[in-house]
Chain length 109, copies 2
């Protein structure tokens, strides 16, 4: 594992783009909905409470970033998490946020 490697501007741009893809709540809802396995668009619309058009747009963003994968089956399109690091990323951030928040709570007393 390369720890703390120095990256070029182009590389940092890619990393930034990757984080940007994960920086929208709706996209995180979609990812979360797919933790349980692949779902088609209609199911994702239902699970996230978004409109069909918006969900489709975000799915395209996530897919072209190789975060999700597509599988067509007749009329329907099934999406699944294609990048195995995504759950780890989310868990890392969530754990860090929980610690940070509990520290803030503790500092109130």
């Amino acid at each position: 594992m390369i720890r703390h490697a120095q990256y070029s501007n182009d590389a940092l741009e890619l990393v930034a783009r990757r984080f940007a893809v994960l920086s929208e709540p709706m996209r995180l809802r979609l990812i979360q909905a797919l933790f349980g396995g692949e779902k088609n668009v209609s199911e994702l619309v239902e699970a996230t409470g978004g409109t069909q058009a918006n969900v489709s747009r975000h799915l395209q963003t996530l897919t072209s970033a190789h975060v999700l994968g597509r599988r067509k089956a007749g009329l329907q399109v099934f999406y699944h998490i294609a990048d195995p690091t995504i759950p780890k990323l989310c868990d890392l951030v969530c754990g860090s946020l929980e610690k940070s928040l509990s520290r803030q709570v503790a500092s109130l007393s």
Copy 2:
């Protein structure tokens, strides 16, 4: 470790915000420059090639997100990485990107 937990909308908003903070190349440059230890603003301006005003703004963003910490010493202000998960996050993303890119390169042959 809580894997694949279901999060509320408020929690997802926090996670999204966290990713958003990491989604700018200049901020990643600052973080990268701090991997070697704390630096003051002037050193960070030099290391990143940005303007003083812009660097200061990004430092504020990173600090209020508890990614960085501040230490004042006379005229100078020293910043350091306050969240230990940041390097892990960056390495995870970089590793994933390297794999993804090498797959794309391999698919060209």
